[in-house]
């Protein structure tokens, strides 16, 4: 009887899945039909870089800050926080699903400002997440389950490469609004407003809070105001991605200006934050996801649902990075030190931008490289074409993403000259 049943099942399944034929022999693998996945477009750059033996090689791929010696930079405030934490001899008990409460609170205050009415009326919820990616993923899952409007997420063109697969995997549809203007290497303000004004009501619009990735092109405050107005007119749900607070201008309040303006303007936003870059806590995976609600009661309901989404992914988040971040944010001397160090990192990048342009000019480049200085944050959208990028990698061992994005954080006073030479060579 069992045999009859199973052969029926095979027949049925066989019609659905041709690969079942492969499974008939004992020595075959379940995974015979699994294709080799392509290397990650961003993280894959580092893998390729590691394999290169050229002593002059430069990794300008992933956005990880380097000091002027090209070394990873562990912030002093982080080391100090770690020492404080170590001395406390804390236990290792599970965190709540929503994470370390002192962290979530400080995280929200950092973004919104401690005096923000939203925080005072407890009408938001912030959960600790697995850095920015984890935050976006939880956000995407939340919207997929609860967003009452169209499940279309509008991304700026271009956006961080991982936005699309994250939202898509959560079941959302991806659309775009104009953002980057290649002819100026700047902001296509008119195009953005035009596109946004046509987005169907109640759709979701994703905005980079500051230091747009990959272009480094940010709207000016007056432009943000107009965007906020039109977004309000269209009744869109705003999803802010803030991965570089502090990194853009060197000032955390200035970098959060757009987020705060939108809230003041009446938008109940959702917000992803990352502490990978601004605290150098990349591998500790520190982030937050915030939902601004209409009142405290709604915030409680939303919180309960976020926990339901988190639990089947990883149960509860890792403590180490969150504790470091909370200690820094909540200890006045460490917080001051942190603000100085973030300022320092931002300044070094600004200096490298200036030196790169100076180097290109010195080489006699006929192109306009002003955008390298105008662009903000860790990245520079060089404007280089894929063939030029390929030449940079193959001939000069300069590694970057195919879209022409370079991480200025990987440039040092020691190699900026080489970079200027290489870029000039492929663009002259």
């Amino acid at each position: 009887m069992a045999l009859l049943k199973s052969s029926k099942v095979i027949y049925c399944l066989g019609n659905i899945s041709p690969s079942l034929g492969v499974l008939s022999t004992r020595n075959s693998s379940w995974w015979g039909g699994v294709q080799m996945g392509p290397p990650d477009p961003i993280l894959g750059v580092t893998e390729a870089f590691k394999k290169d033996t050229n002593p002059k090689k430069m990794n300008l791929g992933v956005g990880a800050y380097r000091d002027d010696q090209g070394k990873p930079f562990v912030l002093s405030c982080v080391r100090k926080a770690e020492a404080i934490i170590a001395a406390k001899q804390l236990d290792k008990e599970y965190l709540p699903i929503g994470g370390l409460a002192e962290f979530s609170k400080a995280c929200a205050q950092l973004a919104l400002g401690p005096e923000n009415e939203v925080l005072k009326s407890s009408r938001s919820v912030t959960v600790q997440t697995i850095s920015g990616t984890g935050s976006l993923r939880i956000g995407a899952n939340f919207l997929a389950r609860f967003h009452p409007g169209p499940h279309d997420v509008y991304l700026p063109k271009p956006s961080w490469g991982n936005h699309t697969p994250i939202f898509r995997d959560a079941g959302m549809q991806l659309k775009a609004y104009r953002y980057y203007e290649p002819s100026t290497c700047g902001f296509d303000f008119k195009g953005a407003l035009d596109d946004i004004s046509k987005i169907p009501e109640q759709s979701i619009i994703l905005l980079h809070a500051c230091a747009h990735n990959p272009t480094g092109v940010d709207p000016r405050p007056e432009q943000w105001k107009e965007i906020a107005d039109i977004v309000k007119k269209r009744n869109l749900l705003v999803f802010f991605d803030m991965a570089y607070q502090g990194f853009a201008s060197g000032d955390i309040d200035r970098d959060a200006w757009a987020v705060r303006h939108f809230i003041e303007n009446g938008h109940n936003i959702v917000l992803s934050q990352s502490f990978a870059k601004n605290m150098g806590l990349y591998g500790e995976r520190v982030g937050g996801f915030t939902v601004v609600c209409k009142d405290a009661e709604e915030a409680k309901r939303v919180e309960s649902q976020l926990k339901i989404l988190i639990r089947p992914i990883y149960s509860n988040p890792p403590v180490n990075g969150a504790r470091i971040a909370a200690t820094i944010l909540n200890t006045p001397e460490l917080r001051s030190l942190w603000l100085e160090e973030v300022h320092g990192m931002a300044n070094r990048i600004i200096k490298m931008r200036e030196q790169l342009v100076a180097g290109l000019k010195k080489n006699g480049s006929s192109h306009n490289w002003q955008h390298v200085i105008d662009q903000i944050g860790m990245f520079c959208f060089t404007g280089l074409k894929p063939e030029q990028v390929e030449r940079l990698t193959k001939e000069f061992s300069v590694y970057m993403t195919k879209d022409g994005r370079i991480s200025m954080a990987g440039v040092t006073s020691g190699n900026v000259g080489y970079l200027a030479d290489a870029i000039h060579a492929v663009t002259k």
């Binding site: 069992a2 399944l13 899945s17 041709p18 079942l20 499974l23 020595n27 693998s29 379940w30 995974w31 039909g33 699994v34 294709q35 996945g37 990650d40 993280l43 992933v62 990873p72 930079f73 020492a83 170590a86 236990d91 290792k92 008990e93 599970y94 965190l95 697995i130 990616t133 984890g134 993923r137 009452p148 409007g149 697969p165 994250i166 995997d169 009501e201 309000k232 009744n235 749900l237 806590l281 990349y282 591998g283 500790e284 995976r285 209409k294 009661e297 709604e298 309901r301 309960s304 649902q305 926990k307 339901i308 639990r311 089947p312 992914i313 990883y314 149960s315 890792p318 180490n320 990075g321």
Partner: protein
């Protein structure tokens, strides 16, 4: 999880009439709290001086305190003083030395599969994270490209999050396989084998490697052999969940016997490993998804696709916990020390088991209590019914799961008399 299509269109209208934002207060209902955490919350709020928490699964010392393993304290000091270490991103699949040493722990250093280069791993966020990545991969690739209808079998009962992990990964058909025989308070082997024989071919079975949660009842080696035989013959997929290796018997090898047997039988399989309990690293989220494939080429392709899943879930895993485990496992001295720490925990649990049984027998509590010492690991399925459980919680301030599951680690030499007496009361007074 059904999309509330009807409601959505109503809310679209309502949304634009009522408020600026699309959030409508009707569209996000309050979710019920996760039972085990609610239990701890209630315990924390209880003012009764002799209250006992036998709920959530974390080890406690005889003083009822959490225990940071001495070897972990040692290694953390090493890490904090090592200036060469930084906080850079780990690779997407995690710290390479962690992945390989963790896989060796469960499969054995000299596992033929490892020597044949057909074992790989993904560092994940705890055992939950490992289950998640495995589940997401299976849903995409297991039997064709869309496995939403492939049955996933989890034991009846099982850890309450198993269901949610697989259903949130997109599996629509998560079913129980017979496991716990409530009457005889043991394994329902006939039922288990029956379900293995009658399930659709190619079904996925989530197997507890040892110290079954919540029953504490494991198949014997002979029984595992029978289970493996049916699974191989009927082409069923083995997805092991190993959250208590070392914790169950005190011996890493003994607790990994079933997993290793399946590997030696030729299965391609997954094993989700957690280091939360055996390293006491609960909040660092240290887990490993060990993948055993037919050969290196299949393995490579599988890992490359798992990488894509990881990238859209958490990008790359947290480094602290993985570092602690790696340093420990790769140093002979620290490794020995760790094994001793694990034995300390396992032995305390064994002691509490034997003492609880002895006291219940001495009290003449009706029923047989052999299952307390027959069962293995952190948990015991007492056999108490929901009414008796309620009695214990409400009248005696002893907190345990409605299923009758108790965490043996919540017992101490100081509270064991009170607990034994209370169980006696519950059993004699409440039917």
């Amino acid at each position: 999880l059904k999309k509330q299509k009807k409601n959505r269109s109503a809310f679209c209208l309502r949304g634009s009439q009522i408020s600026i934002t699309p959030h409508n207060s009707l569209s996000v209902p309050q979710a019920a709290p996760v039972a085990v955490f609610k239990l701890t919350q209630d315990f924390n709020n209880d003012q009764f001086p002799n209250k006992v928490n036998l709920g959530v699964g974390a080890y406690r010392t005889d003083e009822g305190q959490p225990w940071v393993l001495p070897v972990v304290k040692k290694v953390e000091k090493i890490i904090v003083h090592d200036d060469r270490l930084n906080h850079e991103y780990l690779p997407i699949l995690g710290l390479p030395e962690f992945r390989s040493s963790a896989s060796k722990i469960v499969l054995g250093d000299n596992s033929p599969a490892i020597l044949e280069n057909r074992v790989g791993a993904v560092q994940c966020l705890g055992g939950t994270g490992a289950l998640k990545i495995g589940a997401e991969f299976l849903r995409r690739f297991y039997n064709g490209s869309n496995n939403t209808k492939t049955p996933i079998y989890v034991s009846a009962p099982t850890w309450e999050n198993h269901n949610a992990v697989f259903s949130s990964a997109g599996f629509e058909d998560v079913r129980p396989y017979r496991y716990w025989d409530a009457e005889k308070r043991g394994l329902d082997l006939a039922g288990f084998l029956g379900d293995l024989e009658s399930c659709p071919e190619h079904s996925v079975f989530v197997l507890h490697a040892c110290a079954h949660n919540p029953t504490g009842t494991d198949p014997t080696q002979e029984q595992w052999k029978q289970i493996a035989e049916v699974m191989m013959r009927r082409k069923l997929f083995a997805f092991f969940d190993s959250a208590y290796q070392g914790f169950a018997s005190g011996s890493l090898e003994k607790d990994a016997w079933a997993v290793r047997y399946f590997v030696s039988s030729g299965f391609e399989m997954f094993c989700a490993q957690s280091f939360s309990k055996n390293f006491g690293l609960y909040n660092e989220r240290v887990g490993n998804l060990t993948v055993v494939a037919r050969d290196a080429d299949n393995l490579k392709r599988v890992l490359s696709q798992m990488e894509k899943v990881v990238r859209i879930t958490w990008s790359n895993p947290p480094s602290q916990g993985a570092r602690i485990v790696t340093i420990t496992l790769t140093s002979p001295e620290l490794f020995s020390e760790w094994q001793e720490n694990v034995k300390t925990m396992a032995n305390r649990v064994l002691l509490m088991r034997s003492q609880l049984k002895a006291k219940l027998q001495a009290l003449g509590t009706p029923g047989t209590w052999d299952h307390i010492t027959d069962q293995i690991g952190m948990f015991s399925f007492t056999g108490l019914n929901p009414k008796q459980v309620e009695y214990l919680v409400k009248e005696k301030h002893i907190y345990l799961m409605a299923s009758g599951r108790i965490n043996m680690c919540g017992l101490t030499t100081k509270n064991i008399d009170y607990v034994a007496e209370s169980i006696h009361e519950a059993v004699t007074k409440v039917q």
